[in-house]
């Protein structure tokens, strides 16, 4: 059938647009009277980036992915894939994309290798090139020797790896992974993460939707948090963590300079007034001392054991001021680290706790 052509070129052309994906004012209403699933989403995915799309169920992630992959027609705004409009250049857009879907959708009438070779044939690969590339990918995903099995005999992890191989066989510019690790064992998940990093190193753009915050944190360069059909935050994982208002600050572990006994720091007084009670050991009450450091809004003792006191200081604290303040109070700094909430905290902070 569709054998090699004179062009000798298989797979999509190299990317030319500056941004791999541009989403501008995207809106989608299902049916004529339904609610808007997407109410004006904007974001850009740079070439070669791993971009995360996070949000509760029903937030509009899948709709957004659907529009990018030409499966959902937008009711407003526009979406460009490598500069091509998804509503007018569907075929050219599909040539550049690959999708790892939420639910396995392998062709169950075919063997594993046939799943790959026919998929490659859809994308115009010659008979010879299909087979070579299929064998190469099967080896890469650790399925060599199982290529002639029917795919309904595959375990969940194996099916997932075959789906990844299928997505990669036509060398897509952009790979979209829609909750790819849901239900995978740790080995399969690590394999997927490694594969994603490798692909990025080779210049592939990746879009990942996930509920697994650790996954998004590890992999994504930038993350858009979507809720109720809108992007409510878009930043690097680090930048997103800074959105937690109460979590700006530092955590310090201190000991008394001449630590003989434990400085039994109990409740810290209000930082604004110097501690009134006489300190029992040389050195000040740590929380009160830290509370006096410029920029500290509040200081709480988190724990105190074996002479070490752990204190959290909230606010915009300069490390230099802190060290000076501590040494004035006769305390020695043992540990200092920036307070950072988990991405999960950020997510819940932004999208609320109610069930969807």
């Amino acid at each position: 059938m569709s054998s090699a052509t004179a062009s000798g070129s298989f797979g999509p052309p190299p990317p030319v647009a500056e941004d791999a994906i541009v989403v501008e004012g995207l809106r989608k209403r299902y049916g004529s009277s339904g609610d808007e699933a997407v109410k004006g989403i904007d974001f850009r995915v740079r070439q070669g980036e791993i971009f995360g799309l996070l949000g509760p169920n029903g937030a509009g992630k899948t709709t957004t992915i659907g529009v990018i992959t030409t499966r959902v027609r937008p009711t407003g705004g526009r979406v460009l894939v490598d500069g091509l409009d998804v509503t007018t250049d569907q075929v050219a857009v599909k040539l550049r994309l690959a999708v790892v879907p939420q639910r396995p959708n392998l062709d169950r009438s075919l063997s594993a290798i046939e799943n790959l070779t026919f998929h490659a044939a859809y994308f115009g690969f010659s008979r010879r090139a299909r087979r070579e590339r299929a064998l190469e990918l099967l080896e890469q995903v650790g399925l060599q020797g199982r290529e002639n099995d029917r795919v309904d005999q595959y375990s969940g992890g194996m099916a997932q790896r075959l789906i990844i191989a299928r997505a990669l066989i036509h060398r897509p510019q952009i790979l979209i992974l829609d909750e790819p690790t849901t239900g995978l064992d740790p080995q399969s998940r690590l394999f997927l993460w490694d594969t994603m990093r490798e692909l990025q190193a080779q210049g592939t753009t990746l879009i990942l939707t996930t509920h697994d915050m650790a996954e998004a944190d590890q992999l994504c360069e930038r993350i858009a948090i979507v809720d109720h059909g809108e992007v409510i935050a878009l930043d690097t994982p680090r930048g997103l963590r800074r959105l937690l208002p109460s979590e700006r600050g530092v955590e310090v572990v201190v000991v008394a300079q001449d630590a003989v006994g434990a400085p039994d720091a109990v409740d810290a007084d209000d930082g604004a007034t110097p501690s009134s009670g006489a300190p029992t050991v040389p050195g000040d009450d740590p929380a009160a001392a830290i509370g006096r450091v410029p920029g500290v809004e509040r200081a709480d003792v988190v724990s105190s054991a074996e002479g070490r006191t752990t204190v959290r200081a909230y606010g915009a604290v300069e490390a230099g001021d802190l060290v000076a303040g501590l040494s004035d109070a006769g305390l020695r700094l043992v540990e200092l680290r920036q307070l950072e909430g988990s991405l999960e905290d950020v997510f819940v902070h932004l999208t609320g706790r109610e069930l969807r």
Binding site: M1, P13, R71, K94, L95, F118, F123
Partner: protein
């Protein structure tokens, strides 16, 4: 292996899909379906396609005349009707059933909807593949009829080109009807839809009697004109040259009309299912 000459244009206009992309994708999807038919399920396909028509030919064409309940020549009138019935129903079922399953349960069709061709072309491919199955099944009945029917085959006066055209047209019309069913009927009602649609289709399609013999039952004769199978049965009868048939001009009109009507509804339905 395939390091392509870089085709990126310097003016940063992304290249569209090359001219052959859609055609190659279409043929590859068709070859996938044919591969599955021939290599994976030939037995199942033949059983599903041929069991019913073989029984029609055997009971109505052989048993009934043998026990004196029908004329001996009934078989030659029956054969074109059964060929038409087979072409339409095989094609219809081979679009409707897989479509319902692939859209609702296995999601297998997603892979093809992401192939570089327009979504509607995937629907057209379903019709083409099912029609090929229908045409094949209809013509396989000829050697079977030669064995089963008491008088064997009487194809001396057959116009083969007309027969092929009629059967092919019928198979395409059946595929279009299958596309309508597969996309309009919700998955949990498809078994009901099959009973409700196939039974009347089967018995109002001039399969077992020539349409003109319904003159004495005028209202029924008019009702049967709504069934695409009527035109295909009559067309096959005309092409094989056995017995009387409806006006020749009406036959292509009915077949093409069915293809257009069901094809448009079916492809619109397909696009609605494929693209939200």
């Amino acid at each position: 292996m395939s390091s392509a000459p870089v085709t990126a244009t310097p003016d940063r206009t992304p290249p569209g899909a090359a001219a052959g992309t859609r055609r190659r994708a279409f043929l590859a999807i068709l070859s996938r379906d044919l591969w599955v038919t021939i290599r994976r399920e030939p037995g199942g396909f033949l059983a599903q396609a041929l069991l019913q028509p073989i029984f029609f030919l055997f009971i109505f064409g052989r048993v009934l005349p043998e026990i004196g309940q029908a004329q001996g020549s009934y078989g030659s009138l029956l054969l074109p009707g059964v060929m038409a019935l087979t072409a339409i129903t095989v094609s219809l079922q081979n679009v409707a059933l897989p479509l319902v399953i692939e859209f609702s349960f296995t999601k297998e069709i997603e892979d093809r909807l992401l192939a570089p061709l327009p979504a509607w072309a995937v629907g057209v491919e379903k019709i083409v593949h099912a029609a090929l199955r229908g045409i094949f099944s209809a013509f396989v009945l000829l050697p079977i009829a030669a064995v089963v029917l008491p008088d064997g085959l009487q194809l001396g006066g057959a116009n083969w080109i007309a027969l092929i055209a009629v059967v092919a047209g019928g198979a395409v019309a059946g595929g279009c009807l299958g596309l309508v069913m597969g996309t309009v009927v919700p998955a949990n009602k498809i078994n009901i839809a099959f009973a409700v649609i196939l039974t009347p289709l089967l018995f109002t399609g001039a399969t077992f009697y020539p349409w003109s013999s319904l003159d004495s039952l005028r209202w029924f004769q008019v009702v049967t004109l709504l069934n695409p199978l009527t035109y295909v049965s009559e067309g096959a009868r005309a092409a094989i040259g056995t017995g009387e048939h409806m006006a020749t001009w009406a036959i292509p009109l009915g077949i093409v009309g069915s293809i257009v009507v069901f094809g448009v509804i079916g492809l619109l339905g397909f696009r609605r299912r494929a693209i939200d």
